[in-house]
């Protein structure tokens, strides 16, 4: 079994989790600028800028490495829309894919109507929904999506 295809859901789950932590931190510091610089002993460290630079380097490195393995698993096609976890090379991976997609379908068919209802209620009666909230909700949904997929993989491999 191709390791990249098999573990793609966990790679993407970790990536989106890191993105969620990064966005939350940036938003927190933008709202509380005094936390941008921390003092360690006599040194003043610009933590915010350090994290932005490190985040940029990590993101760029991830994109380069990911693109390499993605095109390798897609016969050289870097712009394929087919996610690597759709792995039909083998009956075992097909079985994983069938079980996982069934569970993810169940997840989306229950979570999307629920979120629609909650969003409608919040928007009409409590407060305006801003773009930050939408980004966080999408990231959490993606993390759960890949979490469900990876759980199925673990169940099979155990």
């Amino acid at each position: 079994m191709n390791k990249f295809k098999l573990y793609h859901p966990v790679i993407m789950g970790i990536f989106y989790f890191c993105l969620l932590v990064f966005f939350s931190y940036v938003e927190f510091v933008v709202k509380n600028p005094k936390f941008a610089i921390v003092t360690i002993g006599t040194f003043k460290v610009h933590l915010f800028m350090t994290i932005i630079v490190l985040g940029y380097i990590a993101f760029s490195a991830f994109i380069v490495i990911y693109s390499y393995y993605f095109q390798k698993s897609n016969k050289g096609n870097l712009f394929s829309l087919k996610p690597p976890e759709i792995n039909e090379d083998d009956e075992g991976t097909k079985a994983i894919y069938n079980t996982a997609t069934k569970r993810i379908y169940m997840f989306y068919s229950s979570v999307i109507p629920l979120l629609l209802f909650i969003a409608f209620f919040l928007h009409m009666f409590l407060f305006q929904i801003n773009i930050d909230m939408v980004i966080y909700v999408f990231l959490v949904i993606l993390i759960i999506h890949y979490g469900i997929y990876y759980k199925v993989i673990l169940e099979y491999l155990r």
Partner: protein, 67 residues
Amino acid sequence: MKNRVKEYRARYDFSQETLASLINVSRQTIGFIEKNKMIPSTLLALKLSKVFQCKVEDLFILEECDE
């Protein structure tokens, strides 16, 4: 449905990898079949029976709950 793939594999002294290469699947697929985590396709069942020189129904046995 029960299966006797593991038993036949032991009888022929095949490792999961050897059997997998004989029927052109991954080693993990053999593990999934042996642990009853998946039901193989007709094609794969026929390939297994050919390797073990037995009938498909000797390898895969229906249980009462399947009927």
